[in-house]
């Protein structure tokens, strides 16, 4: 272990950004191996991904860092690799990792070429002022076309051939050249070691035994063990009990100097006490200006979770609380739906984020959940001119009191094959997306940019896109603004009672068709009762269609004498138990599964 102090000019802080499966984690492993941070024997594959789930999905959720030492031409350098997640939903985490760096390695698969996320990640790196090196990975593959990809990289994201390094993270080919480039081409941190302490919190993590672990990048001054520090936005003060670096295993150090990266343990109890993007300073000699923080993540996708199976509400709550410890971008608010009972409305950065949360819930906490189809948040302007965000259609006030409904609009970038353009355009058109520009990356690949309503792409758009393009297309989106459109609320009445959980907001042009189709689904999903059940669909308060569930009353004219009492009581009890899994609305028992099947738009 090298512990000699490294001068600031010999420190390099960088991140690796890549599209999923383009080899980010393999490259990280290779760099660690080449710098001697780990031996091959120690090298557990993809060391940076510490959650099973991440490894399974080939993506990284939580950023962490690793400090490596590398000797170049007789001089020792400290290389801090700050890991980033690679998916479209985690822009926020990517950008906060990049804020702690001076450089970024942009990895592109030599056989796949530039993908939509590659473009999005490049923008992020440029925005955060990072110097970018292109890494053309997987050149060992037979299908690799490094020259074509370098050309594409130059053309689309403006990284010149000189800044591109063809490598194979798998075989190690080109990795030494890349390490050299990291040292020679990426800038060193600015030397502000004489200033009061200013460290950026770029991530945090709750450890069962050690409390909250805070990941920092020191920009000014230094952090020392037993230093009394304060968090500038919250004003809270702590005493540092441990400082350390990941090399890649947590290694305690006495101090973390300017330009360096590490972790802080300071007896912080709750994750909520730490704000990502906050600045840590010295309590007695504080800096006068906090470091530039980040935009808090915007939750764009919402879904309701209800306890299912044998799971009850307190168990689900406990699971969410545990989950939230390690995922600050996810929120959960208790809610009581007259239709589905007690559950939680959860906010996510995007769809993948939502899926991951659901899986972690079930896997790590052994709970069963019933989850409604995702919706987006809307902005409404009431007749008195006030604007308000709503996360669920059921929060919509009376239509008469609404002046306009605004929906989230995103910039959508799709990279696809030239022959699938027609299909993609049709899909996009169908989903109310407006084409901004089409750009040929090569004679066979094209990038299309759209303005799209998030609600239209939030559900199965990506699956459809993959289908149309035979798996080639990639997409990424970025929030632009809330915009007004002809949006209406669809309500469903079961036996004359409105079912709030089924309400939805859709575009006027699709409302009637959607309403009628869902009504039929509803009819199929609700079991027959002893009486006739009218089902109605309302658009903007007007009933536009009706269906009827026929009654079923056979059992009431059965005999019941002495020998049957026990049997009858058992039967009634069983029926009652069955009903517990259902929600009673206007005398009608609706199985939770029915809600799900209605909310599932896949068959629409």
């Amino acid at each position: 272990m090298k512990t000699d102090p490294v001068p600031i000019k010999n420190i390099r802080n960088f991140s690796i950004v890549a599209h999923i499966d383009h080899g980010k984690s393999t490259l990280a492993d290779r760099l660690m191996e080449r710098t001697g941070a780990i031996t091959e024997r120690q090298m557990k594959e993809q060391l940076l991904d510490d959650m099973d789930l991440e490894r399974e999905r080939g993506i990284t959720i939580k950023a962490s860092s690793v400090t490596m030492y590398y000797t170049h031409q007789g001089t020792q350098y400290m290389l801090n690799l700050i890991d980033t997640p690679g998916h479209v939903d985690f822009h926020y985490e990517v950008s906060r990792s990049l804020a702690a760096c001076e450089g970024a390695l942009l990895v592109v698969d030599a056989s796949q070429g530039v993908e939509a996320q590659t473009v999005a990640n490049t923008y992020l790196a440029v925005e955060s002022g990072c110097e970018i090196l292109g890494v053309i990975n997987k050149i060992d593959l037979p299908a690799a076309q490094p020259d074509r990809v370098i050309e594409e990289t130059e053309h689309i994201i403006g990284i010149t051939a000189e800044e591109c390094f063809p490598i194979s993270a798998k075989t190690g080919q080109g990795v030494n050249e890349l390490l050299e480039a990291i040292i020679t081409k990426l800038p060193a941190p600015e030397d502000k070691s004489d200033k009061p302490t200013a460290a950026l919190i770029y991530d945090s993590h709750a450890d069962e035994y050690r409390g909250v672990i805070v990941y920092v990048r020191v920009f000014e001054g230094k952090l020392t063990k037993r230093q009394k520090i304060s968090f500038m936005s919250s004003g809270k003060t702590y005493l540092i009990t441990e400082l350390g670096k990941f090399t890649p295993y947590a290694t305690p150090v006495e101090e973390i100097g300017t330009g360096e990266v590490g972790y802080v343990i300071a007896n912080i109890k709750k994750l909520a006490d730490v704000t990502i993007g906050d600045t840590i300073t010295d309590f007695t000699d504080p800096t006068d200006k906090p470091l530039p923080g980040y935009q808090p993540p915007m939750q764009m996708v919402f879904s309701d979770f209800y306890p299912g199976g044998t799971t009850d509400y307190p168990k689900l709550r406990a699971a969410f609380e545990k989950l939230a410890l390690n995922d600050s971008s996810f929120s959960f608010t208790p809610q009581n739906s007259p239709a589905l009972g007690f559950g939680f409305r959860c906010g996510f950065l995007g769809l993948l984020h939502m899926e991951i949360v659901q899986e972690r819930l079930e896997r790590e906490n052994d709970v069963d959940v019933l989850q409604t189809a995702p919706t987006v948040s809307y902005e409404i302007v009431t007749t008195d001119g006030k604007a308000k965000r709503i996360d669920s259609p059921s929060e919509l006030p009376d239509m008469q009191k609404i002046d306009e409904i605004r929906e989230p609009i995103v910039k959508l970038e799709i990279i696809t094959t030239a022959e699938s353009i027609g299909g993609v355009m049709k899909l996009a058109d169908d989903r109310r997306c407006k084409l901004i520009k089409t750009e040929y990356l090569s004679p066979t690949r094209v990038m299309m940019e759209y303005k799209a309503p998030l609600a239209e792409i939030v559900y199965d758009f990506y699956d459809q896109l993959k289908g149309i393009s035979h798996g080639y297309a990639t997409m990424d989106y970025e929030f632009l603004s809330f915009e007004k459109d002809k949006l209406v609320k669809i309500d469903f009445l079961v036996n004359g009672t409105p079912v709030d959980a089924l309400s939805l907001i859709v575009h006027r042009s699709k409302a009637e068709q959607r309403g009628r189709r869902l009504l039929i689904k509803l009819r199929r999903a609700i079991p027959r009762h002893q009486f006739e059940i009218p089902l109605q669909v309302c658009i903007g308060g007007k009933i536009i269609a009706r269906e009827t569930i026929k009654s079923y009353r056979k059992d009431v004219t059965a005999k019941l004498y002495g020998g049957d009492v026990t049997r009858k009581m058992k039967l009634l009890k069983k029926q009652k138990e069955g009903k517990k899994r259902m929600k009673s609305i206007g005398m009608v028992n609706i199985p939770q599964e029915a809600f799900m099947s209605i909310l599932d738009t896949s068959e629409d």
């Binding site: 002893q530 009353r553 056979k554 009431v556 004219t557 004498y561 002495g562 020998g563 026990t566 009581m569």
Partner: protein, 378 residues
Amino acid sequence: MKSAHSTVGLYIHIPYCRKKCPYCAFYSVPIDTADPNRLIDAIFAELDSYDITEPVGTIYIGGGSPSCLPGDPLIEMADSLMSRYRNVSEFTMECNPAQADEATLRQLRAFGVNRLSIGAQSFNARELKTLGRIHSPRQIVEAVRIAKKGGFENIGLDLMFGIPGSSAKTWRHSLKSAAALKVQHLSVYSLTIEKLTPFARAVREGKLAVVDEAVERGMCKAARSLLRNAGFAQYEISNFAVPGFECQHNIRYWKNLPVVGIGPAAASWYQGKRTTNVADVAKYIKRIEAGRSAQSEAYIPSPEQIASESAVLGLRMTQGIDMPEYQKQTGFNLVRLFGDAIKKHSFHGLLECTVDDHCRLTEKGLSYADTVAQDFIL
């Protein structure tokens, strides 16, 4: 539990039939190979094992088909029952229309049997054949005539609707034919496809088509209006009677009052215990002869369970639950125990509490009895 009704009912199950009907789920076996005398001895032995201290108010001999027994053992049974119990006000015996023997019926009447329940089921020959019944429509008419001639003034018929192949028309014909016979009681219920019966298999295999539910609903409605016009009053979900001829024994069940059940597969509700006898003639006889109990199931319901049972059963009667009586019997105040259920179903017009302190299903509610009953399960 101290009961306000200090009498007890007695039910005797004769598990024999000449031939088993394919829809029937009750315990019965063909009589051909049986030794009825041995069974009857066992029945009396079991009866002796009960220490019945209360007066027996009602007796009901059901089956199976008690009428498939030879006349003598039946008459002897009636005789010895009547000599044991002096306060019997209603003594019913079930009778298959094909087995109404004038001499036997006259004797039974003379020995105290005062009510006859005839398993008519239908007045349509084809439907009777479908049901596997051994009698014809004409035999029903004949059986009623014989019974009346034999001195019976309280005769009930069982009628079944929803029989495969039946229609609104055949059902009306059955109802009218029954009413025309000037009997005092009609049990009207729909065919229930019971698990593990030949009917259940036939339906599963598509060999038997159940009646459309809408048609069946119409049948249920037709029964109510037609029977009302014929002078019958509905006093329970599946029972109609000329006022004054309601079946006292069955009312005991709906009031959750004690009944001692004797014979194979019979159920008892006596001295706070619900028991069911073993559903096997040979085993039953063997156990009784060995001086052991014939019970194969027994449990003591909790006070809440009893309260729940009493409510579910009581609601089946059109007069509903007599609430002060209910409180005396169960120790619970009905409104306090089931306030939510009563409020909910009253709001929807299925249940009502009357000025004379009864809680009952409304006319509309009678059609949703099970929906309501589920909320009276604790």
